[in-house]
Symmetry: C2
Amino acid sequence: MSTFKQEPHKLLVIPGPIEVTDEVLYANAHPSMSHVSPDFIPVFGDCLRMTRQVLYTADAQPFLISGSGTLGWDQVSANLVEPGENVLVLNSGYFGDAFTDCLRTYGATVDELHAPFGSAVDLKTLEVALHSKSYKLVAFTHVDTSTGVLSDAKGIAEVVKLVSPDSLTVLDGVCSVASEEIQMDAWGIDVVLTASQKGLGTPPGLSILVASQKAVKVFETRKSPVTSYYASWKKWLPIMRAYEAGSAAYFATPPVNLIYAYNASLTAITQKSPSLADRFRLHKEASARIKSAAEELGFRQLAVDAALAANGMTALYFPDGLVASDLLPRLAKRDIVVAGGLHKDYKEKYFRIGHMGVSVVDAQRDDIDRVIAALKESLAEAKASKNV
Amino acid sequence: MSTFKQEPHKLLVIPGPIEVTDEVLYANAHPSMSHVSPDFIPVFGDCLRMTRQVLYTADAQPFLISGSGTLGWDQVSANLVEPGENVLVLNSGYFGDAFTDCLRTYGATVDELHAPFGSAVDLKTLEVALHSKSYKLVAFTHVDTSTGVLSDAKGIAEVVKLVSPDSLTVLDGVCSVASEEIQMDAWGIDVVLTASQKGLGTPPGLSILVASQKAVKVFETRKSPVTSYYASWKKWLPIMRAYEAGSAAYFATPPVNLIYAYNASLTAITQKSPSLADRFRLHKEASARIKSAAEELGFRQLAVDAALAANGMTALYFPDGLVASDLLPRLAKRDIVVAGGLHKDYKEKYFRIGHMGVSVVDAQRDDIDRVIAALKESLAEAKASKNV
């Protein structure tokens, strides 16, 4: 093991990128390696296998592709939907809008069910929609990073299976994988797409998507050609299968260093303490601490109900009379970096705190205490300066 | 400056990824930063500006997007060509085939001029083709990584400007940027696309594309919508302009750590010794040394003519009676990692050596000597064992 220590820095508690361990960063500084080296192939293969473990799936097909999380939408839109086919998007914020935009770019006919701000689409509404029309695919954002709203993944999958068993259920887990429990096989989720820089605790740059065998079959039996080149599973499926089987194949150079980093983080998540189940519990506990501390200080959450609030992030309205510039620079002065608002209609009115990964699972760190203390001090200072 | 030293490792001399400096790897291990942080914005902005410098362009528009070099083809195909438009590809190997495949995926009508194996398309053939039909875009691989063949970028651009001035000239520089001189403005190249892990001396994971203002205008005046989401300049252009102007904008999370690494490498390339001009000269010198040493040992190059041989890599036929398994493992035993063949029709018959970046510009290193010595010893050993 190396003695590498990252530089001192402000604590990054935005909803991704998140704080990354020294181990993971050191892996990201691995000497250059050939992408077809016999030393590298099992590193890539293990990433595929461990990605499955995080999602509790035995046989779904992971895709690890150089790109942002956004590329996952292209993968779904280009490979699983044919032009003119119907898709239903459960829209709970900014990322629902964007996924819809992506699906339409590739020719899907998209209907959206819009949740009220701070809320998720309710299951009854979903059920009615599924009865009224046949959908190839139902997509939802598990945690909308713009609002911190958590959708009921298990419930959604159940309704889809019951009312429209042929539809594919697609979970956008960019802000939920490894911070929220996702039982891909048990719940019947067909696609989980995510990125490396949130719950998975790795620098950004990796589009991670896992497709059930049912989804792979839908892809393999599509009638029209895939209209993307870089996002085409026709190109990537043989590559992923080759690396997992222990041999190299080439379509595009993988982000070798980032794969080492992802491997280091996945190893910690799947093989070290805490266990995966404990990891989810620790996220819930840290989230509860932050949320109750914020409420005690008079902050109100965007999520209208506790059951609708994510466990890896918290979105809070500024108290009356205060704006972003009153609070965020004061937090930064205390070395705490949070994020501003993102949802187009409300972005001036709230801010967001991320609490994922090492900041919540490493008992040696006091990140959550630091965040709560800084929030308290900054709020008091802001109120005093504005006579609120 | 840090005292970070990368782990001892085999010398990686494939045509990308290449050896990366400690400084660049250390930057890749930067603590997590927000992609919209005021500290990060100028790092990204400087990458855009320095990318221009490397290509000798005053005002072309760089795009830095999380992805493999391959994504550059999607960017060209999706943004600059509309379905049914004519494209001419000068095909000098594997990467010409692939670029053609990508263009057709997005609906382009592609004609190919195939160069004989080991050669580039000659300018006279290009001229005739341009007289016979009108092309929206002419694309060529500057250095085909599968063969080490160098195309005459300046000459191609001249012919296009003379015969078909409205056509866009697109240079695939994945294996040439920063190892071969490219005068984008002076020569009239409209698009240069590349990746981070070759001459630019950074780990893989960044699609780097630079578009002339003429190309940007062609994009902005296109009639049909862009059919890719992730590769759409409609999404990315405002982002690149914002970061360069000193403010953040969001479409997809950039690969923050890799941007730090790319910044470190670009800083060395554009602001430190050797100068950019000297860098190209040093690549030529190292290339000449390797090529002449290989020829003295009895190896023959794939490139049929010295003027057609790249300066950042060398592709060599195995001598009669020897195959890859005779030579490559013996090089690896001497800690030298070279690459096998890639071109579909000839891949068992040759191997490739990369000589780019720090391996050729850092006078403190003896990488080229080590490669030559190992090649000599390995060849002698292989011949002896096979009685060749």
